[in-house]
Symmetry: C2
């Protein structure tokens, strides 16, 4: 039994009002697998890099117990590279450079040892690649989580809808939920999207937290208000990784565990933004995470004292 995370492993160069980095290790699968590793010790990744990706870069993941057998290294090619600059409010950013490189012809190969997959996180990639991974697993995982974005809605909606049909949980942000459903109200948007395949929908609202929809039930997870957001890169992927990592650990998929999983994901995401790139994610421990989880309890607990 294992958790497989497919997504980008990449180099990022990031500029925020607090400073800038040279090329550092990033990518959705990097953030998500590091986050998941704190909750589940059989986390495996499927991804591709070029030969510019160093042994010590891979060690970042392996030191956290992440299985990298499914990480293809393409000789003579370069890793996916993204560079971006955040505005002062940290809520918007300009993409300065996107070099697909190895990602252009990415064929997600599933090692034989990954066929025990029970939990599958399909990070943001083309809907075809995401679908290919599902098809290449001999047995359908117990839970498939799909992350996607407006870009695929803009240019290949039909393909995306085909892939969405196959998954259990969809994670998108509020404007993407509106785009996908054609509904402005998030409740109406969710009701429509829950007829497209997924049984659970997570709508990410950044600093405003996240909403989970399932049947006629709704859960609202708060975001931890932070004095400083140092670098928001990877926060959404960290959230998704913490979410599925917690569920894989618990081993039972139901609405209650899903609610808790949103809090675990949110807690990990709140660490992610405290330093540049993966830096903060690399140095966590169980005690630090437990204290942060208690902050989420204080943040949202109240009592109905009358009726």
């Amino acid at each position: 039994m294992s958790l497989i995370i497919i997504g980008t492993v990449a180099f990022d160069a990031i500029e925020t009002p607090f400073g800038k980095t040279d090329k550092i290790v990033g990518g959705a699968a990097t953030y998500a697998s590091l986050a998941a590793s704190y909750f589940y010790n059989k986390t495996k990744i499927v991804a591709v890099v070029g030969d510019d990706f160093k042994k010590e870069d891979i060690a970042l993941l392996e030191n956290h117990g992440v299985d990298t057998e499914g990480l293809q290294i393409k000789e003579g090619e370069k890793s996916f590279f993204w560079s971006g600059k955040y505005h002062n409010d940290m809520n918007s950013r300009d993409t300065l450079v996107t070099e697909l490189n190895v990602l252009e012809h990415f064929d997600p190969i599933i090692p034989e040892s990954y066929q025990d997959c029970e939990y599958l996180m399909l990070g943001n990639l083309t809907p075809q690649i995401q679908r290919t991974v599902i098809e290449r697993l001999n047995k359908r995982p117990k839970l498939i989580v799909l992350d996607t974005m407006n870009f695929w809605m803009d240019i290949m909606m039909d393909d995306l809808l085909e892939t969405i049909k196959l998954v259990d949980v969809l994670t998108i942000n509020d404007s993407e939920a509106r785009q996908l459903s054609g509904e402005y109200s998030l409740v109406k948007a969710a009701n429509k999207i829950l007829t497209m395949g997924p049984k659970y929908l997570i709508i990410k609202k950044g600093e405003h937290g996240a909403l989970l929809f399932h049947e006629d039930k709704i859960f609202s997870a708060p975001a931890l208000p932070l004095a400083d957001v140092f670098d928001p890169t990877g926060a959404g992927d960290t959230f998704a990784g913490g979410f599925i990592g917690y569920l894989a650990q618990v081993g039972t998929v139901n609405f209650n565990n899903m609610k808790n999983a949103l809090i675990y994901g949110s807690a990990l995401a709140s660490f992610c933004v405290e330093k540049f790139g993966t830096e903060r994610l690399l140095e966590l421990d169980k005690t630090t995470i437990a204290a942060r989880l208690q902050q989420f309890v204080s943040l949202s607990s109240f009592e109905i004292t009358q009726d």
Copy 2:
């Protein structure tokens, strides 16, 4: 012992994508006192109207046990009138007409029978009028809540700061918190504002809920996601009225009761937007409110199952 609410009692004409109204009874003190009346039966208002305000309009309030002795009726003058049109997203609106009328020379007279005031809600008015009310009370109330808006920050910040110094709780929205503090991060904004006088700060975020700050503690109240928002007019005032009405009922001011009060206020506000104007607020009962409060419990409860 009583709860006094000062604010506008007015006529509104509202247009939303769902329809439009003729002149209907509105105003901050109307919404807030109706909301408070469900939790506390000694709610009194201080406000002014013209002789166009009918007996049956006043009866709307009195039927809910709201004491209107402090409602001045100016013969030969007209009531404050506001007309607005909401855009399709319901998050923005155009003001079509604002006629101050009686409000232009409003002198808030406190009836002798109001001198037992323990809880005071200063609805959005000029900072001078708000301050006058505090000065005219023989004894400082146990709790003073102040609502204000960006308009007063734009044109009379010094006056506003003088009034803010005198209160216990300030309620503003997120952009107003940023304007008042000069800080973008809401945590930093709150830390600054909590040095300006108020011991508690409530930041209202509309469909994203509300945050309560006190010392180094934060509470995040979710908003109930709704399929249809019919008319947002008065939701913020309803929230404030439910908030202080609950606190007046409980009778003890502390952070825990304040947290609960935010949920009670949010629950009342979630009703307010379901119909035009005060319509939904007028027809509530304890059972309906108790069921809505339970929805807030389901919406935000989770469990930390490990550490």
